[in-house]
Amino acid sequence: MSEVREPQSDERLQMPSDPYSVPLDKIDVAQPHLFANGDHWKYFERLRSEAPVHYCEDGFEGPYWSVTKYDDICHVDSSHNLFSSEPAIVLADPEEDFELEMFIAMDQPKHDVQRKTASPVVAPQNLKVLESTIRERVCTILDSLPVGESFNWVDRVSIELTTQMLATLFDFPFEDRRKLTRWSDVATTDPEQDQSIVASEEERRAELIECLEYFGKLWHERAGNGGGSDLISMLANGESTKDMVNKPLEYLGNLVLLIVGGNDTTRNSITGGVLALNQNPAEYDKLRANPALIPNMVSEIIRWQTPLAYMRRTANEDTIVGGQTIKAGDKVAMWYISGNRDEDVIERANEFLIDRPKARQHLSFGFGIHRCMGNRLAEMQLRILWEEIVNRFDFVEVVNEPTRIFSSFVHGYAEMQVVLHPKKA
């Protein structure tokens, strides 16, 4: 998800910490440092109240609209005819010579055909079969953690668990599973930022080509094998996708989609939940007193974290949203992270409440035909993880300020040190 850039104008403002020190029309809320510093919340608060559908003329990736209220986001997300998911679901447009194709960034009818090939693997019927495997792995991970000394929760639990899950869904060689983590991170990094995990776009592409080659081998091993139940077998043997391997940018695109979708998202909800409970000790007490709240808490964590901050659409025609005329061809960012804090729709939206009524009604999975395909898997992983955490530990204590990811798309954490306090016998 990289990009070709317009030359930067000299006047482009680096957004300061205080949103009220910038003229409204100069606000560029998509600047990643805002998210890394946690300053984005105040910006969205201002946009929701003063300019719920806001035009930024001079964004890093060109001009774009920000839609920040819950109901407007639902409208844009559900109006597939008015708003296209092509050519990209991030503000940056694809590079012309390396355009990854993935069904999240396709419109009907092609989107539907490809999604339907992959979705049964994460449908509830299949998840029922996977539940015992997930629980076993969660237990193994939790039982291997050091007690009474600090360690990085992101690496040891959040990444490890989601990566193991992904390896299971792909039937990916288990010992190589951290390659999946690496490819997920590489796919979403921006080589032009100093904080990038790769030095250049060339390096990024080289690593993604390595990913493609690795999965190309798996494909050929599995094609024509009567169809295993893993994602690669399903694509390799699916009627509408069986030639995908011959279209490398489409195969790679869909791999990146499934890897990032299954990795970067739940990973950050796992970390975000621990952080939220530490910041809200009364909620942690409620959890200890009543673990039956876990399923509801899982939805609240996913709302609270909003692991993907936005999705982009592109207007197919001139249309009015929130009183503003969006022109055909304009980019529109639907800021789920802001809609999930919209007090006009969600009562006490800025509070983390694990027993919140209607907790499932949040925007984090998106709405409409592109709604998150793995949502039930995500909820299941989080539910089982928390069931097993409360079985073992009285307190997962956060002991430092976590390091946030430098991105306005993936809303998450690179590091968070915790100390485990076992349950008293």
Binding site: C74, S78, A123, P124, K358, Q361, F367, G368
Partner: protein, 106 residues
């Protein structure tokens, strides 16, 4: 006013009286019938209020419009009598309607 019967996947029946104009989805939520999530709150945008219409009632319940069809079409458990219950407003015509709930919402 109409009487609607929801049958859970495990066979448990719930008979509820519903005012005209209420959606079948809200009839389930208001009467605490389990098995319907309705994550989008009734905007035909999440497909988690999926029901199967009893064969005697399929015609009276009507057919999905384009948006509902798009959402239903992506569900691996979709059947010919599948509907999203948020898109069925209750009328006198539907007095006696029977719907079955899927094992899971997706």
């Amino acid at each position: 006013m109409a009487k609607i019967t929801f049958i859970e996947h495990n066979g448990t029946k719930h008979e509820v009286d519903v005012d005209n104009g209420t959606s079948v989805m809200n009839a389930a939520i208001d009467n605490l019938v389990p098995g319907i999530d309705a994550d989008c709150g009734g905007q035909c945008s999440c497909a988690t209020c999926h029901v199967y219409i009893d064969s005697d009632w399929v015609a009276k319940a009507g057919s999905p419009d384009d948006q509902e069809e798009s959402m239903l079409d992506l569900n691996p458990e979709r059947q010919p009598n599948s509907r999203l219950s948020c898109q069925i407003p209750v009328t006198d015509e539907l007095d006696g309607l029977v719907v079955t709930l899927p094992e899971f919402q997706f």
